[in-house]
């Protein structure tokens, strides 16, 4: 299926989500969408306008929403639940663990406003542990798209997977990096650039900054391979095995260090092909208020800071 946006456009990732839901709504009458009083923020309102009979407003009650979705899935429906990631991965964790994953139910959980992107709302609203919590669970699949095109692809693909899926979305509009004919595959990563000096692995919308950082690095004659690790569970073991053990690897994510992509890859490499990794993440602290740009500055995620950190690390070694 052709993705909706052109490379270089600046689009909020949730727009890809909203468009995918409409596409699915037309194709499959089993698709239901549930929201917890945030449908305008999550873009599930687009589906609600087209398919009001299959949109279930659940009010501000996320735990109930997840189990209502469980009930719908037991009747053969394919429910997509949507709310801020921080209010579902944490607050409804027991419902996701003990009902959705324990019974391996066909429920899709979309956590919007992941990472620091919700900005001024502050640390209470920034999901920075969602990947860790969802990745923990047996039967769960975890995806974190880089842009609105990939979000579109992942949502379409999620509807074909029988079983629980968590998808992290973000709030800010970011540059489209994924081409129109790209097709997402579960457990497969995509190289966005190629170079021999280092490997930069990331997930989510931080990819836009990572790609800008590669241009800064190129000016300094540093050529890097950038890998979009959007399929976090399952992850791409084949691609990890292909990275030469002599090459420096940087893992960049808007997530706590504990349990994030860096942690997942560290666990894998430590048992298969031990190597030194540099993890660039939020560390062990909560977020705070500020514009997304200010937060990227403070937490070290702007393209300039990323490029300098990578350059310095490569020079030191």
């Amino acid at each position: 299926m052709i993705n909706p946006f052109n490379i270089g456009d600046v689009v909020p990732i949730r727009d890809g989500f909203g468009k995918a839901l409409i596409e699915l709504g037309h194709k499959n009458e089993k698709i239901f969408v549930l929201d917890a009083d945030l449908s305008k923020s999550t873009r599930s309102n687009w589906f609600a306008e087209k398919f009001p009979n299959r949109f279930i407003e659940c009010g501000i009650a996320e735990q109930n929403m997840i189990d209502v979705a469980a009930g719908l899935s037991l009747m053969g429906k394919i429910p997509f639940t949507t709310t801020y990631g921080v209010f579902v991965a944490g607050r409804a964790f027991d419902q996701i663990r003990n009902t959705i994953c324990f019974s391996n139910l066909n429920v899709k959980i979309i956590g919007s406003h992941g990472g620091l992107s919700v900005g001024a709302d502050g640390g209470s609203h920034q999901a920075i542990e969602d990947i860790a919590l969802m990745n923990l669970l047996p039967n769960m699949k975890v995806f974190s798209p880089v842009d609105a095109n990939e979000a579109f692809q992942i949502i379409i693909k999620a509807s074909d997977i029988v079983g629980p899926v968590f998808v992290r979305l973000a709030r800010e509009a970011t540059e489209i990096l994924i081409r129109k004919d790209f097709e997402f595959q579960v457990g497969r990563w995509e190289k966005l650039s190629e170079g021999n000096d280092a490997y930069l692995l990331f997930h989510g919308t931080i990819g836009a900054e990572v790609m800008k950082a590669t241009k800064i690095l190129l000016e300094k004659k540093i050529e890097v391979t950038v890998i979009n690790c959007s399929s976090i569970k399952p992850f791409d073991k084949k691609m990890l095995n292909e990275i030469p053990s002599s090459k420096p690897i940087f893992i960049i994510e808007e997530h706590l260090e504990a349990g994030g992509l860096g942690s997942i890859i560290s666990t894998y490499y430590s048992q298969n092909s031990p190597r030194k990794l540099e993890l660039i993440n939020i560390g062990d602290r909560f977020g705070e208020s500020g514009s997304p740009t200010e937060l990227y500055q403070k937490f070290g995620f702007t393209s300039e800071i990323l490029a300098e950190r990578i350059r310095a690390s490569l020079t030191d070694n």
């Binding site: 209502v68 469980a70 009930g71």
Partner: protein, 269 residues
């Protein structure tokens, strides 16, 4: 269709088998299983449309044991209904058993969804009932909750949801035995009138003697006529049927000794 005397005999047999499998396992939850026996008997042997030979029959009524710790009761009922062979019962709580300590829908036929973490069954039932309505299907969704379980906030989220979406194909039983693990429900977390709470949320509220199969059946038939979701608050006795277990919180989650089992079985002759 069975008459009520036959049903009472079935209930007595269920009580015996429930205690036997808990004894055999060396652990389990006798108190809240025994208090729910007559509700479970009425549902599976009289009220519900279900087919043990075809557990996934799409027009079946659904049952969710939200108080998942009454698993031994559910297993005995499912076995006596014909969902699986009797020799499975001796595997309850043992390694590789389909009969896990709490109900697991991936391992045992006849279980709609895994439960055990309290407070979730009503929400799941809401999703099922809503789906049935969307598809114009006539099945009923039944749930069974402990009164202690009503401490969980999620229950009240689901109560709001069911009333909002007018899920009159949903009938929730509360096994009101007035006890939970740490003591009486009033001491642990007093809820005062459960009836008034459900009424305030716009549910159809019925009460019954939870050990009278006639009363349980009649109130369920009445609930089916409601235009609102219904709750049937069944007054029960924890440990019902065994004198030394009745109304003793300590029998919530422990197995009887061999002598205690013998005494109990004698009382249930």
């Amino acid at each position: 269709m069975k008459n009520f005397i036959e049903l009472e005999n079935i209930a007595k047999q269920i009580r015996r088998k429930t205690l036997e499998i808990i004894f055999n396992a060396g652990s389990g939850h006798p108190g809240g299983s025994l208090s729910s026996v007559d509700i479970g008997t009425s549902l599976f042997f009289y009220l519900m449309n279900h087919d043990p030979n075809n557990p996934n029959w799409k027009d079946r009524d659904r049952f969710i044991l939200s108080k998942g710790h009454a698993a031994p009761l559910l297993y005995v009922i499912l076995q006596m209904s014909g969902y699986f062979p009797e020799n499975w019962l001796s595997t309850f709580r043992k390694i590789n058993s389909p009969l896990q300590g709490h109900p697991n829908s991936l391992k045992c036929p006849g279980i709609e969804v895994s439960t055990g973490s309290l407070g979730q069954g009503l929400s799941i039932a809401c999703g099922m009932a809503l789906s049935l309505k969307k598809d114009n299907m006539k099945s009923i969704v039944y749930t069974l909750h402990g009164d202690g379980e009503l401490n969980e906030g999620q229950i009240w989220e689901a109560v709001m949801f069911a009333a909002h979406y007018k899920l009159n194909n949903l009938i929730a039983f509360i096994d009101k035995n007035d006890l939970q693990i740490d003591g009486s429900t009033d001491e642990v977390m007093s809820m005062k009138s459960i009836e008034e709470k459900f009424s305030a949320f716009n549910w159809n509220v019925l009460t019954c003697d939870g050990h009278s199969i006639t009363d349980i059946v009649n109130k369920t038939i009445e609930a089916k006529k409601s235009i609102k979701p219904s709750v049937i608050i069944a007054k029960t006795i924890k440990g019902k049927g065994v004198s030394f277990m009745e109304n003793v919180a300590g029998w919530h989650g422990k197995s009887p000794s061999k002598i205690e089992l013998q005494l109990a079985l004698e009382e249930l002759e």
